[in-house]
């Protein structure tokens, strides 16, 4: 039996230990904010934070998350008002919005690690997250805004 915490709540799994954390979260736990985009850690849509580090849940198995603390977009802030979330809304970042949960989790992890990233650091840190609508200019501006206080 694998046990892990998601957004502060304990979950257990006695199925295939190789099941990816992504499908565990989405299909077994039933939280759908974390998205499937590629399944190969190429697009970042499935990004969650595990013990303060942004990871791709699509290539992380449930067993790798055993005993760990996982935060998804639903758990980033109790009222959805994390500085990154607020900045996202202020800048009107999203178009279709599908990649944005992953983008926001990546940005939140970046700011935990580096509270005042330069524009180059933002671009580098966020370049693992694809936005097919092409909201990059606004994502960059929103991360910058979040880092300087919304």
């Amino acid at each position: 039996m694998i046990k892990l915490k998601i957004n502060g709540q304990e979950h257990s799994w006695d199925g295939d230990p190789d099941l990816s954390l992504l499908w565990f979260i989405r299909d077994e736990v039933g939280m759908t904010g974390t998205k499937f985009g590629c399944g190969q850690a190429l697009c970042g849509a499935c990004t969650v934070i595990m013990d303060k580090e942004a990871i791709r849940s699509c290539i992380t198995s449930v067993s790798d998350a055993s005993g760990r603390e996982v935060t998804t977009i639903e758990g980033l802030h109790p009222t959805g008002d994390h500085a990154v979330q607020k900045a996202w809304r202020q800048v009107n970042v999203p178009q279709c919005g599908f990649c944005q949960a992953g983008q926001i989790m990546q940005a939140a992890a970046l700011l935990m690690d580096n509270p005042k990233p330069s524009h180059d650091q933002i671009r580098e840190a966020m370049s693992g997250n694809i936005c097919r609508c092409g909201c990059y200019q606004r994502i960059e501006n929103a991360v910058h805004l979040a880092s300087t206080g919304v």
Binding site: F24, F36, E74, G97, I130, R132, G134, Y136
Partner: protein, 773 residues
């Protein structure tokens, strides 16, 4: 002269391709179901929209419905519910059209809820969300709907107050009687207003635009913004039903291939896998019908994928097993070196080319592209007996309903299509094959089922953007004036997806920047040689405008270089005098489905877009060594867009884009902030297709699988800044497209910039490694 006949007008692009039988539906129509609401059970009135201009909206399947009882509900608590009947895939349409209704009815946006319509075109009118047409077809109808609701509320208030209706006025969610200072909130009026008759359209008074609170301002964020940032937004992939099964399907690797046999024993051993079953397929081509294959059903998607990996399958690859992109490109090139079907002819191009002092020839290649919306195709179906309910991210809710009904052999009235948010669309989600797969599986399983496409499925079984060779010969006289223009375009047609034997392009494809080439040249001939399709061809954001803008605007750059002129000056000289293009020799010019009187090709607007971007984008500014500026303009979706790209190419051939400037003339608009976001996004998509975009075939199979071998631009290579300038519309300028037209001019502006920076002319997309030294 050979002129290709335009096909009949069909659903969206599709109905320009093939005749779909008109399935009659019983109209079971309900109000919005809000207790005491303003909208009650009501018959549907399809009424023509009155406007200063005409659009093609009425020609779309099921036309336009202008009825406040269908689109608006006012609850006793004052909450106004407005229906969004178009699909939201990132353009903001789910916000902007309801905002138009709210504006006209004087509703306070903070007390408005938006409700997504089911797929039901008898009730709502056409719902095909493609062709960049939502705003241009619905701005006026939505204003009329709002104005009707306002008139009904005012009439109810006047009766209540015992005053003439002329003395009351709706204002910010209440109706005010200025003389007495009395005011009644919309909620209080809901029940009475519901009893008012719907005013005639000719009696409606639309607001004076100077009184607009919302339209044209860009101050209202999209309604889903908070939910998107908290993970609460519901996309197709996020639908969960009690007892729902998870399915993935393996499909024939070659278009038109068939399943011979399969062995699911190993798949069944995978933990969580519950069933392995065949999925019915249709012979190619069959529009949007499923390709068939083998489905693995499991308790979660991960188990289904793992089970699928363990399947052993024998395929019959069929007639397209030799499709090879290298050989096919050579075939297309060969085809454009010979005469083809003439689709436009002015003057005598052969004689003019013969007499020309100089002939510049350019052969331009643009490959297949995959859409790769961030949300891969996905659908949930729950089929019980002769009833089906679907939850899916579809651009064509009405068409999906028709296709599900036909596929299951049940009446359309028994099919409910719930339209979720779309995690991107770009034309892919106009084709509902994934919803049909889910419907077939749910029927067989007797349980709700979600069919999830993996990214590999998406890349390998897309309805791809076509592949084309565009060959242009331009003849110059001794003064450097262009006197002859022959353009041959060879590309497999979207028509090939709808039936066998399509070898020529359709009117809609010819009309995308090819036969409507706007230059003032005495001798012009456009020819369309034959091309046979070997895979499913579909429409990709901006469609055939991509290769046409690339070819034509590259040729402008080549002509500028050949004659020693500035690119922008050359472009303006070719566009020529301000005039309305006549296109007399083009039979049934498509014009994006719009009447030519309302939406002519106006070279003054084309020039203005070029001049505006040149001014604001500081055309001609000095740039550092290794940098270059390129410009391009293109009219598509009846909008006019010009782009300047600044590129930097380092000594290893690595390119970066420091700056992009784009001017868009899209006529009257609703939300400039969303126009800006669309144009910012099309710069990224344009850069992606220019740098990387290429799907290739070998032995009939797509060679790419995922974002590693079909890359798209990431943030570290995005333009450092993209500036957008919107041409201020005239008072009666009809609205035109925004979602797509930013794409076409980007690639040629970039490759013209690369030429300016390096002297290297890119004639084949993608740029790939062509600049590497």
């Amino acid at each position: 002269m050979n002129i290709i006949a335009a096909p009949p007008r069909l659903r969206g692009f599709e109905r320009h391709v093939i005749k779909v039988e008109n399935v009659s539906r019983r109209s079971i129509l309900k109000g919005l179901g809000i207790a005491g609401s303003f909208v009650l059970a009501a018959p549907i009135m399809s009424r023509p929209a009155l406007a200063a201009y005409k659009t093609g909206a009425g020609e779309m399947p099921h036309g336009v419905v202008v009825d406040p009882r269908v689109f608006v509900a006012v609850a006793p608590d004052g909450i106004v519910t407005i229906v969004a009947h178009r699909s939201e895939m990132g353009t903001g349409v789910r916000t902007s059209l309801p905002l138009v209704v709210a504006e006209e009815m004087e509703a306070d946006w903070s007390r408005v809820k938006v409700q997504q319509a089911h797929g039901d075109e008898v009730r709502y009118g056409n719902q095909d969300t493609d062709g960049s047409r939502s705003t241009r077809h619905y701005l006026v109808p939505m204003r009329q709907i709002g104005a009707s609701a306002r008139a009904m509320l005012e009439s109810a208030a006047a009766k209540r107050l015992g005053v003439p209706v002329a003395e009351v006025k709706a204002s910010n969610h209440e109706v005010v009687h200025a003389a007495s200072g009395r005011r009644i909130g919309f909620g209080d009026l809901a029940a009475d207003a519901a009893k008012e008759s719907v005013p005639s359209i000719s009696s409606l008074k639309l607001k004076d635009p100077k009184d607009f609170r919302y339209l044209g301002k860009g101050e209202i964020s999209i309604v889903d913004l908070r939910d998107i940032t908290t993970g609460a937004a519901q996309y197709g992939a996020d639908v969960r039903l009690p007892g729902m099964k998870y399915a993935v399907i393996t499909r024939p690797p070659v278009t038109g291939g068939k399943l011979v046999s399969f062995d699911g024993a190993e798949a069944m051993k995978v933990s969580g896998v519950e069933k392995v079953m065949e999925v019915k397929g249709w012979p190619w081509p069959s529009k949007f019908q499923p390709l068939g294959g083998v489905a693995v059903i499991a308790r979660n998607t991960g188990a289904a994928i793992k089970g699928r990996d363990a399947l052993k399958i024998v395929w019959d690859d069929g007639a397209n097993a030799k499709y090879d992109s290298v050989a096919y490109r050579a075939e297309l090139e060969e085809a454009t070196r010979k005469p083809g079907l003439v689709v436009r002819k002015e003057g005598d191009v052969d004689a003019a080319l013969k007499s020309a002092d100089k002939v510049i020839t350019g052969e331009y290649y643009a490959p297949h592209l995959a859409h790769v919306s961030m949300e891969p195709p996905v659908a949930v179906a729950d089929v019980k007996g002769d009833k089906a309910e679907i939850w899916a991210p579809v651009q064509s809710p009405g068409g999906t309903r028709e296709d599900v009904a036909k596929t299951l052999g049940i009446p359309e009235d028994n099919v409910t299509i719930n339209v979720t948010l779309l995690g991107g669309g770009f034309g892919r989600k106009s084709k509902c094959d994934y919803a049909l797969e889910a419907a077939l599986l749910s029927k067989e399983l007797g349980a709700p089922v979600k069919v999830q496409w993996t990214r590999e499925d998406d890349v390998q079984h897309d309805f791809l953007h076509t592949v084309s060779v565009e060959r242009i010969e331009a003849g110059l006289d001794k003064n450097g004036k262009v006197i002859a223009w022959r353009h041959r375009s060879a590309a497999p047609s979207i028509g090939s997806t709808f039936g066998p034997g399509a070898v020529h392009q359709l009117g809609l494809e010819l009309g995308m920047g090819f036969v409507d080439m706007p230059f003032e040249i005495a001798n012009v001939q456009c020819e369309n040689p034959e091309a046979v399709a070997h895979t499913r061809i579909g429409w990709f954001r901006s469609v055939s405008n991509i290769p046409r803008a690339f070819a034509i605007q590259s040729m402008v750059g080549e002509l500028a270089h050949a004659t020693g002129r500035d690119q922008k000056d050359m472009l303006l000289e070719l566009i020529g005098s301000p005039r309305i293009l006549k296109l007399d020799s083009v039979k049934d010019y498509w014009n994006n489905g719009e009447p030519y009187d309302s939406y002519p090709i106006d070279t003054a607007r084309l020039r203005r877009a070029v001049e505006l971007v040149a001014e604001k984008g500081e055309w001609g500014r000095s740039v550092p060594k290794g940098h270059g500026l390129g410009i391009a303009v293109h009219r598509s979706f009846v909008s006019y867009i010009a782009t300047i790209v600044e590129v930097a190419v380092d000594d290893k051939g690595k390119l970066t884009v420091p700056r992009v400037d784009t001017a868009i003339d899209c006529g009257t608009y609703i939300n400039p902030e969303r126009i800006q976001s669309q144009i910012e996004g099309t710069a990224i998509m344009g850069l992606s297709l220019a740098k990387y975009g290429e799907i290739t075939f070998k032995d009939g199979k797509v060679q790419q699988k995922n974002f590693d071998d079909f890359p798209v631009v990431r943030m570290d290579e995005a333009p450092l800044v993209t500036n957008v300038y919107i041409v201020p519309p005239g008072p009666d300028t009809p609205p035109s497209g925004v979602g797509e037209p930013g794409v076409p001019p980007f690639a040629p502006a970039l490759t013209n910039a690369i030429f300016a920076a390096t002297g290297k002319r890119i004639r084949a997309l993608p740029i790939g490694k062509q600049l590497e030294t």
